[in-house]
């Protein structure tokens, strides 16, 4: 579904992604973890071209992401992206947030879009908040709306960039539950996250990154009990120490 081939990215002289090659198969859930500045957010943002690459190839559902004639806007509707800072549009109601893209980009009729939005809101547990505004919701609620907004276009895959890092601890659970239910329903997911419990429960693969390189790819059980790479071992022990 998502194939990285020899992906390289530089910020000026800083080599942010170094020869990254990896695959996310259809229906798989991949968790990308690693210390700060390891390039995990950068990697996930290259899939829908929020970041560009200078070398290498990225294929999404068979489509070369950096192809010359690509209709970028239509392509992006097929990649569901959830941001760390939620980035809901504060001047639109929850319902309007969700139907904005389907109606404006895909030309879906408002009535149909609204029905779909309400279904999605029910799925994330927020059907009562359809007419509320983001400023009136808690962080956890906002992030769940953001997930619904990304799902509104039926993307074949969802990307999550540290979806719970900006949340107060008591709200992390509600967002993770939504993500777990998505995973159990067979959605292809690529998540950058520090939530190791989540990784253990639903991930099919864990990728460990440091300094722009994927140092280890393993099944969660194997990764958490017997990591091979010394850097990964150090990372996990740091994580456990508190």
């Amino acid at each position: 579904m998502i194939i990285f081939t020899d992906v390289n990215k530089w910020y000026g002289n800083y080599h942010a992604l170094v020869n990254v090659s990896a695959q996310v198969k259809r229906g798989q859930v991949v968790v990308v973890c690693g210390p700060s500045g390891s390039g995990k957010s950068t990697l996930i943002r290259t899939v829908n071209r929020l970041e560009d690459i200078q070398k290498g190839q990225i294929a999404f559902d068979g489509q070369d992401v950096n192809a010359a004639g690509l209709d970028l806007n239509k392509f992006r509707t097929r990649v569901g992206f959830v941001f760390q800072q939620f980035n809901l549009f504060p001047h639109l109601s929850v319902l309007e947030n969700i139907i904005l893209s389907p109606t404006r980009v895909n030309g879906l009729k408002r009535g149909l879009a609204k029905d779909k939005a309400l279904t999605l809101l029910e799925r994330v547990g927020l059907s009562s908040k359809a007419d509320s505004y983001p400023g009136q919701l808690s962080g956890g609620q906002q992030q769940r709306v953001a997930i619904a907004r990304a799902l509104a276009m039926d993307p074949p895959a969802m990307l999550f960039d540290e979806p719970t890092s900006a949340l107060d601890p008591e709200m992390v659970g509600e967002v993770l539950n939504v993500m777990k239910s998505l995973a159990r329903d067979g959605m292809t997911m690529m998540c950058v996250t520090h939530e190791m419990g989540f990784a253990r429960e639903v991930a099919d693969q864990v990728w460990f990154m440091d300094a722009g390189v994927i140092l280890e790819k393993a099944e969660p059980e194997k990764f958490f009990s017997r990591p091979e790479h010394p850097r990964a071992q150090r990372f996990l022990s740091d994580l456990r120490s508190h």
Partner: protein, 215 residues
Amino acid sequence: MLKGIVLTLELTVASWLLALVLGTVLATVRMTNHRLAKIVVGCFVAYHRNVPMLVQIMMWYFALPSLLPVSAQLWINQFNGEFLYSVIAIGLCMAAYVSEDIRSGLRAIPFGQFEASRALGLSYIGSMRFVILPQAMRIAVPPLINHTVLLFKNTSLAMAIGVAELTYATRQIENYTFRTFEAYFLASACYLALSLALMGAGALLARHYRIPGSK
């Protein structure tokens, strides 16, 4: 005095339109991140914010016509030159302020909003239209209203070059009739009424477009 009020209003509207259009153009140019564009716009804004309005009017009326050929000067003077120069001076000065207001409105929007709208598939124009500009305008409207009131009051400076707007007319009335207090009281009342009306309209506008749930 009525003619003075009318002329004041004409000055205000003309300068305001010029300021709004030019200010938007300047803000858009500055957003292109082109190095030369930013320097040019930056200089324009710096000049108009640091040089007094009166001096700017003098520049346009006394100094700059000397650059034009004599025939052009005569032609302009035929068509109410003072009015034209005042409109240009006030309009350009306020355009600098308007562009700064729009710019600060845009800068107040977190870049993540733009990223999110692009990630949803909206085009550049779509993002601007549905996400960025609605939010930026709400932020920019209060300072824009303030600067509109300022523009309105600055029209009084045109009297220095002989434009027969309200302040000039008041002085004339006072010269002829010596009813100083009434004349100035009436004129001040007019200015005050219009300023308050503008500020009130602004407050109504801000309240109508308030985003529920924002602080």
